[in-house]
């Protein structure tokens, strides 16, 4: 049975699109047929960071409006055979999303994919609403700071009251917390909230923390989902989070600050 997973946060720029791409690639690596759908209509970021930008001909909105078939708009990624994206439109605005249109596209995707990842735009407006409305599971991306946590809390409230599952009195949307851009050093310095404080404030099962890392920006500039960028902390942290998402028990890493040893400092490793 296909699962619809929304990646959402409320606040902008916290790492939703990075996480959508990473989870898409991670699930595909684990053998699941996965598609990532860009709900950020008008901005369109996902195709860029997944390296598909030049191959976008038709988009999500074209499909909704019957101007293109779904398989004309789906783009297979270069890196993985079982990973696809459905790009957002750059020219239309978010009002061109309709509930029925979104539903029909998702229903169609359910027939050929195991996981449908919905990359939500920031805010609680139309695009964000439709990205989460049909979700079975939600990954709440939060940065370790008060305003981001507050916005995530707000989104959790909306998921619990305004998603289709809530409105139909079905089993609730399954929630997961992912802390992005975590810097143990800045936690020690008191500039950031500690991961367990965030977890306690939001009271949602914890998928893991992704360390703040330059490799994220570098990977997205190259159009490679960060998780495929072997050996970086961010890639490993995302892979652990994907494993936990799938129910595996994996010890947490990247939560502590390690002072670099003499050689580490010398060679900057």
């Amino acid at each position: 049975m296909a699962r619809i997973v929304v990646v959402t946060s409320g606040k902008g720029g916290v790492g939703k699109t990075t996480t959508s791409a990473a989870f898409g690639a991670g699930l595909a690596l684990k053998g699941y047929r996965t598609v990532v759908v860009d709900f950020d209509i008008g901005l369109r970021n996902l195709d860029l960071i997944m390296g598909c930008e030049r191959r976008v001909v038709y988009d999500f909105i074209n499909v909704i409006h019957g101007e293109a078939k779904l398989n004309q708009a789906l783009i297979k990624t270069k890196q993985l055979d079982n990973l696809y994206i459905l790009p957002a439109s750059q020219t239309r605005d978010k009002d061109s999303l309709t509930e029925e249109g979104v539903m029909l596209v998702l229903e169609e995707l359910k027939k050929s994919f195991d996981y449908i990842i919905c990359d939500s735009p920031a805010g609680i407006e139309r695009g964000a609403h439709f990205a989460m409305y049909f979700a079975d599971e939600a990954i709440i991306v939060t940065n370790p700071e008060v305003s981001s946590v507050r916005d995530s809390d707000r989104i959790l409230g909306i998921l619990a009251s305004k998603s289709m599952r809530a409105e139909r009195n079905m089993d609730p949307v399954q929630e997961h917390l992912l802390i992005a851009r975590y810097s143990p050093k800045r936690v020690i310095d008191g500039d950031m909230l500690k991961f367990d404080d965030v977890q306690e404030l939001l009271d949602v099962p914890f998928l893991g923390a992704i360390p703040e890392s330059d490799s994220v920006l570098l990977a997205s500039n190259r159009g490679v989902p960060v998780i495929l960028d072997n050996k970086t902390d961010a890639a490993e942290a995302y892979m652990d989070a994907v494993s936990r998402f799938l129910g595996e028990e994996v010890p947490h890493r990247f939560l502590q600050h390690h002072r670099k040893g003499f050689f580490g400092r010398l060679f900057g490793s």
């Binding site: 539903m103 029909l104 229903e107 049909f134 507050r150 809390d153 707000r154 959790l156 409230g157 909306i158 619990a160 009251s161 289709m164 409105e167 139909r168 089993d171 609730p172 929630e175 991961f195 367990d196 977890q199 306690e200 404030l201 009271d203 949602v204 099962p205 914890f206 998928l207 936990r244 129910g247 028990e249 010890p251 947490h252 890493r253 939560l255 502590q256």
Partner: protein
């Protein structure tokens, strides 16, 4: 390098509303309905088309309530075969509930098929909830001022801890006690199992409120009676909002932004440090919000 966090696998516990002494409870709620807009009253091919639509997304349509909207039927005299519509919808596991935007005659015929007249506009915005909230806070403020005055009038010599903006006011509301100002709350409660998030509001009207989870900063919990919170209380808690001065707030972990009993309140800055993160009860003593460790 492993760190122990709450085991991921533990998941969340999702409870069912518990049994209350009363056999039912009335709640306002918003229900999303599917609107069936009738474009042509003849409805040719209706059965086949509905069947097709439903088969495209069986999960979405399964047992969904349907409102029949006649706004786009130009001729208000048109006879619409409601019996047929109802039959087809039901056969496809949809639940027809009513009609709207038709003529009086059309609505009357719809009623014969068990379809009620629905209000034209069904949307209630999120903001209206927040309006009630500010209203409530205003009410709380008014009550506080009222009582403030009363107290000052009673004993002008005693130093009141409230700022006396109107010390010479005439005694206007001396007979408050038996004015029927509040109605005592009844002996049953409303129980909430899920976390209450920023922007959400829960009101236990006419009864106690029991919350088994956390109340986030930015959330409001309101009750005509007592409030019990078994998770952390980080939002605003208003007990006895209808005026019951015997109402109390009990909480396991006090981090509240505001606590109020019968309109008297304290904001976070007025809560002593030594009560923060403590298990406490809060009640009214000599018309002051009093906190006591438990």
């Amino acid at each position: 390098m492993t760190t122990n966090t709450d085991s991921y696998k533990s998941g969340q516990t999702q409870g069912q509303p518990g049994s209350a002494a009363s056999s039912f409870e009335l709640k306002g709620s918003m229900l999303t309905v599917i609107e069936l807009h009738v474009l042509d009253p003849v409805l040719a091919n209706f059965a086949a088309e509905i069947k097709k639509k439903v088969s495209q997304a069986p999960d979405f349509f399964n047992r969904a309530p349907v409102a029949i909207d006649l706004a786009q039927v130009k001729n208000t005299e048109s006879i619409i075969d409601f019996a047929d519509i109802v039959e087809v919808l039901k056969r496809n596991q949809l639940i027809p509930i009513g009609v709207r935007n038709g003529s009086a005659a059309q609505h009357k015929r719809a009623l014969d098929q068990g379809l009620f007249s629905l209000a034209t506009s069904s949307m209630r915005s999120f903001d209206s909830q927040q309006d009630t909230q500010t209203e409530l806070q205003q009410k709380a403020k008014q009550q506080k001022q009222q009582k403030q005055q009363k107290e000052e009038n009673k004993d002008l010599k005693e130093k009141s801890s409230y700022s006396s903006s109107n010390a010479n006011a005439e005694s206007t509301s001396s007979s408050n006690k038996n004015s029927g100002f509040y109605t005592a709350h009844q002996a049953y409660s409303k129980t909430v199992y899920q976390p209450i998030r920023s922007g959400q509001q829960v009101y236990a009207k006419g009864c106690d409120l029991v919350i088994l989870s956390t109340v986030s900063a930015g959330a409001d919990i309101i009750s005509d009676g007592h409030i019990h919170v078994y998770g952390s209380l980080r939002g605003r808690a208003l007990a006895g909002v209808n005026g019951d001065e015997s109402a109390r707030i009990f909480c396991q972990n006090l981090e509240a932004q505001l606590i109020s009993i019968a309109g008297y309140y304290r904001v976070i800055e007025e809560i002593e440090e030594n009560f923060r993160n403590q298990s406490v009860q809060i009640y009214l003593k000599d018309q002051r919000v009093t906190i006591e460790k438990m």
